[in-house]
């Protein structure tokens, strides 16, 4: 882990320095030629340009010199080419470099590209979100972290299956019974239904998922303290009295810190990667050749 971190620090710093290094006239800017098939899409062209630039950067700073995987790989190549050699690994590695093997080997290319792309998204310590950053992000993107409002309501249910044809008349009687209760709780009234409570606290979405849109609408619009119903659902009819409404809210940072941090870090990584790539692209003169 530590080894990887040191690499990322170095790579990040080197990449970021590109603008400074190549900030001269066009004449000073490095040129690359990217050859792509005639039918390549714009996205494919962009990808190839970026790969070439990143490879060029990695080679410019000779990352292959301190890389244990490239070292092992090139030594293995050399031992394959020179099976009888008694030279030590370092000598073979140097010889591989003299042969420019690092320029053409596909594994070296893949590894350099991988490291470069990882470096693009590396978040340096000074960009790590502070608590203030997290709070700002939470506030600026309330929609991402908002919790739906809740309604606490009393709920009386009459089962259509159980009451059959008497449901309508039973509903009329129940409505009258509820009105007569005044502010008293509707204890022991109605039929049971799994998960239905005499008093429950739910979001409107939860009411909709459990009983359908019609009842959800009535609960949503309900005035505190008044019985509404009968409201039909697939189960029968419902009577509801809203006791309390709690508006939607964004939880405090202490509660959703992991959620906010993950969201912000993802943004930072994307932003840094884009910024750094733009810096690199500005620093290069790119020629595109479409070749069959």
């Amino acid at each position: 882990m530590l080894r990887a971190l040191i690499h990322f620090f170095l790579i990040g710093a080197l990449l970021f320095a590109a603008k400074v290094i190549f900030a001269g006239d066009d004449g000073d800017r490095p040129e690359i030629t990217v050859r792509i098939p005639p039918d390549a899409t714009e996205a494919e062209v962009d990808r190839e340009i970026e790969d070439q630039i990143l490879l060029n950067q990695a080679r410019h700073y000779r990352w292959y010199l301190g890389d244990p995987v490239i070292f092992t790989h090139l030594v293995r190549n050399m031992r394959f080419i020179e099976p009888d050699s008694t030279d030590d690994d370092l000598t073979l590695f140097k010889r591989a470099l003299e042969m420019n093997m690092q320029e053409h080997d596909p594994v070296v290319r893949a590894r350099l590209l991988y490291r470069a792309r990882e470096a693009l998204t590396y978040v340096p310590k000074d960009r790590m979100p502070t608590r203030e950053d997290l709070e700002e992000h939470r506030t600026a993107h309330r929609d991402r972290f908002e919790r739906e409002g809740k309604v606490r309501f009393e709920h009386v249910f009459l089962s259509g299956t159980k009451r059959g044809e008497a449901l309508a008349s039973d509903a009329v009687a129940m409505r009258a019974q509820l009105e007569a209760l005044g502010d008293a709780a509707p204890t022991e009234l109605g039929d049971p239904l799994p998960a239905l409570r005499a008093v429950q606290s739910s979001t409107i979405s939860q009411v909709k998922a459990a009983y359908g849109a019609e009842l959800a609408g009535v609960v949503d619009e309900g005035v505190v303290g008044s019985w509404r119903g009968p409201v039909p659902s697939v189960y029968g009819v419902h009577f509801v009295r809203v006791l309390e409404k709690e508006p939607s809210s964004v939880p405090a940072l202490t509660i959703i810190e992991a959620e906010v941090r993950a969201d912000l870090l993802s943004e930072i990584e994307e932003e840094l990667s884009k910024e750094r790539m733009e810096v690199l692209r500005d620093a290069y003169v790119v020629h595109v050749e479409r070749t069959p």
């Binding site: 990887a4 995987v69 998204t121």
Partner: protein, 695 residues
């Protein structure tokens, strides 16, 4: 097509730095009971999925699945995600969750065996990345698109090794898989961080995530898999894989040693699944040394495996049709395969009847007579086992296939069904818990107050007791009385009063978006001497309600119940006999997913060419889309105009289609396979209530 991880390894490193070096926020505080605003001491139903695979699972990865944990959680929380196949990096299909069918909790259960292998093979800094494996599978092979099928068999097939010979893939190095284990640490961190980032710690408690993985033992290609679920964010340093511990009792021992017994707050359980694919070995009563179960084994199994998946993508495991006990409803979603390998190879072979849960419940009671402990005291859940990162995606109407043991759909849009026709979308795990929090749901699993369904959000409830009032179905206080005077699903009855008989209040409500209910059944199993007996009772509703479904349109016919409730007394109860009682809630008939797709495609088994006619003129339907697109794209002039006409009876068009229909892919013939179920009766199963006589 790339098979790299969808998010970089660096993310975990960055987040680790953040965790280690950030300012001290104080954190959200402990997950104490009552944290949620909607806390209900009488408990409420929550639906979840504890069996989900993402790009981190080797099989899913090789099948072209790209969404990782974050995307899977995004899907679970309502966001559509793209799924394979991909073209130019863009997904050709979209999985869209139903906003009116939210899922409350999810555990991602990527295969533990290859978490590090995939990471190592995608990370050039790993020594495994470039390691040659003479005569074996290397990371280069893994990355070689042309070898994907071979690699799938060779690498994934290592979990089919015998326990004595199993080892990490050679590409992981000679140090007992050291390079892959090392790479796996970062991935395991990612899994934990992804779970933490979506766990709603506010009092809204909208969504709960669990950290978990799948231990994928498949000796001889039979399925002995277990999903490991952790109570909270305190977890071991690494998952235990089949390569680490090839015997299930060593998995349990490892979980005790590395988690449960550490006094750190870590807690875990294991969830078996797909006993139906074990070739008769899932409930074998032998330990790893071939001796019969001893008390320690039975205790450990009872403690660590409180629930079992009775239903998922790879079929139902409740009961096998044609056994001594007549139960016509046992034929539901039974796979015509006996092992995992048979599914992969599509080699028809009848499952072994001893691999089904109902039999195991009886064997468990027998073992309890011998050992004093029931090692098969399983509660019930369902899940999806999706391998396309889509938790809770279990609707028959929108099934895209789940990959895994099913059809990959990696390289192109499916011609015909999107999955092996005998597989299914799976169903949710249900729990009765006080609130939607990790602690409350984990506790529900532990006490087996769980249920599973075959897809619909049916809500079943049952209480058993000696003195439950006979008119309990009239009381809005049913739940309170049930808890005060009885035990819920998963509970145990004992201390039978002299001359007393157990009563059960069973109730269920239909899925508001599903079909009405037909009936509620109680399945009773008991030991009569040494004989295991089973009886199925219809206790509410009407099995002869006349409801059906029009298979030509999938329109339901007839009526059913929106909710059902009954108090049932076991008048045949014998207080000296061990017994269990579980509830099965049955919907009215509906079309199976495969029939729905055939109906949507206007496929007529009596006249297949008419299907081609409609299908090619509307290539948005479910079957043969790619084929019809290719045909339509090749049409010009009159033929194209003809095929695009709104008049399906156009003689020119019919003539044209008749001619081209000769080339219709065989896939559509699946619509008419006689072995496929057509009308199904979706259902819910509760955990049993056990009765234990005085010793």
């Amino acid at each position: 097509m790339s098979r790299s991880l969808s998010f970089p390894l660096l993310a975990s490193i960055v987040a680790l730095i953040a965790l280690g070096c950030g300012d001290d926020s104080g954190g959200p505080g402990p997950d104490v009971p009552g944290r949620c605003a909607a806390f209900d001491e009488l408990r409420q139903p929550f639906f979840g999925d504890t069996h989900v695979h993402t790009v981190l699972s080797l099989d899913a990865n090789l099948q072209g699945t790209r969404p990782g944990p974050s995307e899977a959680y995004a899907f679970a929380r309502g966001q559509p995600i793209g799924v394979q196949p991909y073209e130019d990096g863009n997904p050709l299909r979209t999985a869209t969750p139903d906003p009116d069918r939210p899922i409350d909790f999810v555990m991602l259960s990527d295969h533990a065996e290859y978490l590090g292998t995939i990471a190592a093979c995608n990370d050039p800094t790993s020594p495994a990345y470039d390691r040659p494996v003479p005569g074996g599978t290397s990371c280069a092979d893994y990355r070689d698109e042309s070898q994907v099928d071979q690699v799938f068999v060779l690498l994934n097939g290592l979990t089919a090794s015998s326990p004595e010979g199993v080892e990490y893939p050679a590409l992981c190095g000679s140090d007992l898989g050291g390079d892959c284990i090392e790479a796996g640490k970062d991935v395991w961190t990612q899994v934990q961080e992804a779970a933490e980032a979506v766990y709603d710690r506010s009092d809204s408690c909208k969504f709960t995530s669990f950290v978990g993985y799948e231990w994928s033992a498949g000796p001889g290609a039979v399925n002995l898999h277990r999903n490991v679920m952790f109570r909270n964010d305190i977890v071991p340093d690494l998952p235990i894989s089949y390569f680490d511990e090839p015997y299930v009792e060593d998995l349990w021992a490892g979980l005790r040693e590395q988690c449960i017994d550490t006094d750190t707050g870590c807690d875990a359980l294991a969830i078996p699944h797909n006993s139906n694919l074990a070739n008769g070995t899932f409930f074998e009563k032998l330990m790893k040394d071939e001796r019969p179960f001893d008390i320690d084994y039975a205790l450990l199994r009872n403690e660590l495996e409180p629930v079992i998946e009775i239903f998922q993508h790879k079929g139902a495991s409740e009961c096998f049709p044609g056994q001594a006990i007549s139960d016509e409803l046992c034929g539901f979603e039974i796979l015509p395969y006996s092992s995992l390998a048979a599914v992969n190879l599509q080699a028809f072979s009848d499952p072994d009847p001893s691999d089904f849960v109902r039999g195991a419940l009886g064997e468990g009671m027998k073992l309890e007579l011998e050992l004093g402990v029931n090692p098969f005291q399983h509660g019930i859940i369902s899940s999806t086992d999706t391998h396309i990162s889509t938790p809770g995606y279990d609707d028959e109407k929108t099934f895209l296939g789940h990959g895994g043991a099913g059809q990959p759909n990696r390289d192109s849009l499916p011609e015909g069904f999107p999955d092996i026709q005998y597989l299914n979308p799976g169903g949710p795990a249900g729990v009765w818990a006080e609130e939607n929090s990790r602690n409350a749901i984990f506790e529900a699993f532990r006490r087996r107050e769980t249920f599973g369904t075959s897809g619909p959000r049916i809500v079943p409830r049952v209480f058993g007791g000696w003195d439950l009032p006979s008119d309990l179905c009239d009381s809005p206080d049913l739940a309170r009385i049930g808890y005060e005077q009885g035990v819920p699903m998963g509970g145990e009855l004992s201390d039978a009063p002299v001359g007393g008989t157990p009563k059960f209040v069973v109730s269920a409500k239909r899925d508001p978006m599903g079909a009405p209910l037909q009936r509620i059944q109680i399945v009773k199993g008991w030991l009569d001497g040494g004989d295991y007996q089973v009886e199925v009772y219809d206790v509410a509703g009407n099995p002869d309600n006349g409801a059906s479904v029009d298979l030509a349109t999938c329109e339901p016919q007839g009526n059913g119940a929106a909710d059902l409730c009954a108090v049932w007394e076991d008048t045949a109860f014998e207080p000296t006999q061990h017994a269990y009682y579980y509830v099965r809630v049955i919907e009215n008939p509906t079309c199976r997913w495969s029939v729905r797709q055939c109906v949507d495609a206007n496929y007529d088994c009596d006249n297949p060419t008419t299907q081609f006619d409609f299908d090619c003129c509307d290539p948005t339907v479910g079957l043969n889309v790619a084929f019809c697109d290719s045909v339509a794209a090749g049409l010009t002039g009159d033929e194209a105009a003809c095929c695009r006409t709104d008049d399906p009876t156009s003689s020119t068009k019919v003539t044209f289609c008749d001619a081209v229909a000769q080339t219709l892919p065989a896939a559509d013939g699946q619509c008419c396979l006689p072995r496929l179920e057509t009308a199904i009766q979706e259902r819910a199963w509760t955990s049993p209530i056990w009765y234990r006589p005085p010793s």
